[in-house]
Each structure stands twice: as structure tokens, then as C-alpha cells.
């Protein structure tokens, strides 16, 4: 009788324990994006932070993704209130400078923030080599499935989302992805 009871208890307990163990191995904050491989959602957003020469664009200028066909686009969502954005800021700015003159466009998109705070933050951080745009109501961020900043999207020359980095972008990984996208398009990195 005791063996039967123990068996019955095990029958219920083992699947539950198994389920909990599986759950513990998952990162609840890691949301798999369905976007890589799909066409990048089009946007046209106004520049609020011009960036530095030679990558600069005038404030108020509209950046349209459709105009960037034929280029690799690195789209970085950031905010002045985001602590992790500080970690990637300098290296991302440097990597963008390395690709000046190549068919690569780096673009920052301000997420859930006001442009004055963004401008101030860039000044505090010692500048940003590439321009940043405003994203009113986070419409473009939602279109890209952004759920936290920083997030960096790599768009191939044919306008597809090729890769996504969640969290601070490692500069070597950025170079690696950009180079592979240039190589895939037969463009010398």
C-alpha cells in the first residue's frame, strides 16, 4: 500500500519537478524575436542629434529607411535613462567611425525619452559620432519588437533584419556582423 502511494505521488511530482527545472533554466526576460530574416519595418524619423563629421546629418532632417537600400544599417535603440546604454556608447561610436565612407549607416533611435534629455546625455558622454532620431510614441520601436534598451538591429543591403543584439552591443560582434553583411553583398569591408 505504501509503495502504491509513493508511486502515485511520484507520478504527479516528477512531471511538476521536471517542469520547474525546465522553467529555472529559461531566462524570463529573453524574448525570442520573430523578426530576423524578415523585411525591416520602414520608418521615416527626424534627426534630433546630428552626430559628428563625416557621419553627421542636420537636425530636423528626415531619415528614411527606404533611402538606405544598398547599405548595411545598424539601428540602435537607446535612452538617456538607460544605464546599460552607457556601456556600449563609446565603442559603438568608435565602430561607426571606422566604417565612415563605407556602405554602412549607423543610426541611433531615442526610445521613450525626450530629445532634450537625449542631447544632454550625448554631451555628457563626450559626443556621438552618428546621428540619432526621435521616435514619437515608440511606434518604430514597437514595429521592431523592442522591449528594452539598448537593442541593436542589423539591416542587410536588401532591407532585411539580419541580426539583433539585446543589451549592450559588443564592438567586436558589431564589426563581425557588419563585415559579414558587407561580404554577403559582395562589398569589401
Amino acid at each position: 500500500m505504501n509503495w502504491r502511494r509513493a508511486g502515485l505521488a511520484a507520478l504527479f511530482a516528477v512531471p511538476v519537478i521536471g517542469l520547474f527545472m525546465y522553467g529555472l533554466k529559461q531566462d524570463p526576460r529573453e524574448i525570442p524575436s520573430p523578426l530576423p530574416g524578415k523585411p525591416a519595418p520602414l520608418f521615416s524619423l527626424a534627426v534630433f542629434a546630428p552626430g559628428q563629421p563625416p557621419l553627421n546629418r542636420p537636425i530636423g532632417d528626415t531619415v528614411r529607411l527606404a533611402d538606405l537600400r544598398g547599405q548595411v544599417v545598424v539601428l540602435n535603440f537607446w535612452a538617456s535613462w538607460c544605464m546599460a546604454c552607457r556601456d556600449e556608447h563609446m565603442s559603438l561610436s568608435e565602430v561607426a567611425r571606422e566604417y565612415a565612407g563605407k556602405r554602412v549607416t549607423f543610426l541611433g533611435s531615442l526610445y521613450q525619452d525626450v530629445s532634450s534629455a537625449g542631447t544632454q546625455w550625448i554631451a555628457q558622454m563626450g559626443g556621438q559620432s552618428y546621428p540619432s532620431v526621435q521616435d514619437p510614441l515608440a511606434r518604430t520601436a514597437i514595429d521592431y519588437g523592442v522591449y528594452g534598451v539598448p537593442e541593436t538591429y542589423f539591416i542587410s543591403v536588401d532591407g532585411r533584419i539580419a541580426h539583433k543584439i539585446t543589451g549592450p552591443a559588443d564592438p567586436n560582434l558589431v564589426r563581425q556582423v557588419v563585415d559579414s553583411l558587407l561580404a554577403a553583398a559582395n562589398i569589401a569591408p
Binding site: 524575436s33 523578426l35 514597437i142 522591449y147
Partner: protein, 153 residues
Amino acid sequence: MRRAWGWALAVVIVAGVTARGQQDTSTIGVPTVLTPRSAADSVLDARTSAVASQLRCPVCQGLSIQDSPSELAQSMRSLVHDQLAAGKTPDEVKAYFVSKYGEWILLAPKPHGFNLVAYAVPMLVVLGGGCVIVLAVRRWTGGVAHDGVGGAA
């Protein structure tokens, strides 16, 4: 008499929990309306709430974008509102969010494939629990005198 007190206590607990649940959902995430609104606006607001309460807030733990006060949830609610106003159906709006965030964004998973487990297990547990209760009650009451099952315990 003792049993009656037990039932009364259970009813009070259940009523308390239910009332708390109702209070929570009614106070969180309801936008303050300051301008006079037409009946069409109210219908659209109700449809927005219905869709928003089925979509998961990406920056919260288990909250819908209807219930979350976070900025992202607010932006998502306004997007749901605008898409419904533009003539999209609730299913089309949900499909838009699924295409961006994956099926994860739906608070209730679609009932197919492995997802069926989420629907079947609670029902099985309730059924199993019901059986246990029936057996136990039988054992405690008349069953003892008739078949002597209670004696084995």
C-alpha cells in the same frame, strides 16, 4: 455545527479574494478622461481595452498592457487604439503584435500543439482534485459504515 462554521469561513475567504481581484483590475491602467466623449469613442475605448487586456506587457511580469502603467504599455495601448480606429479588426491588431514580438505577446497561448498542455493540465488537476474530494467525503461519511474503506486508513 463545526462544519457550518467551516463553510461560512470558506465563503468569506472566497468573497474577499474575488473582491480584491475586482478592485485591482478596476483601478489600474484606466486612463483619466477629461474631455467629453461620444458614444463611438466609448465603443472604441471598450474595444481597445478588450484587445489590450489580451496582450502581454513586455517590460512587466505577467501583466497585460491594459493593466500596466509602464510607458511602453501606454504606447502600445495607443497603437491598439489607433489601429482599431483605422479599421483593423481585433484579430488583425493581435496578429500585428505577434508578428513583432512572437506568440509570447499573447497572454493566453493559442490552443494548438504543445500549448494544449496549458489548457489540459488545469482541467485534469481540477478533475483529479474533485475525485480526491469525492473519495475523501465518502470515506468520512456513509462509506465507512457500508464498505469499511475508512477502516484501512
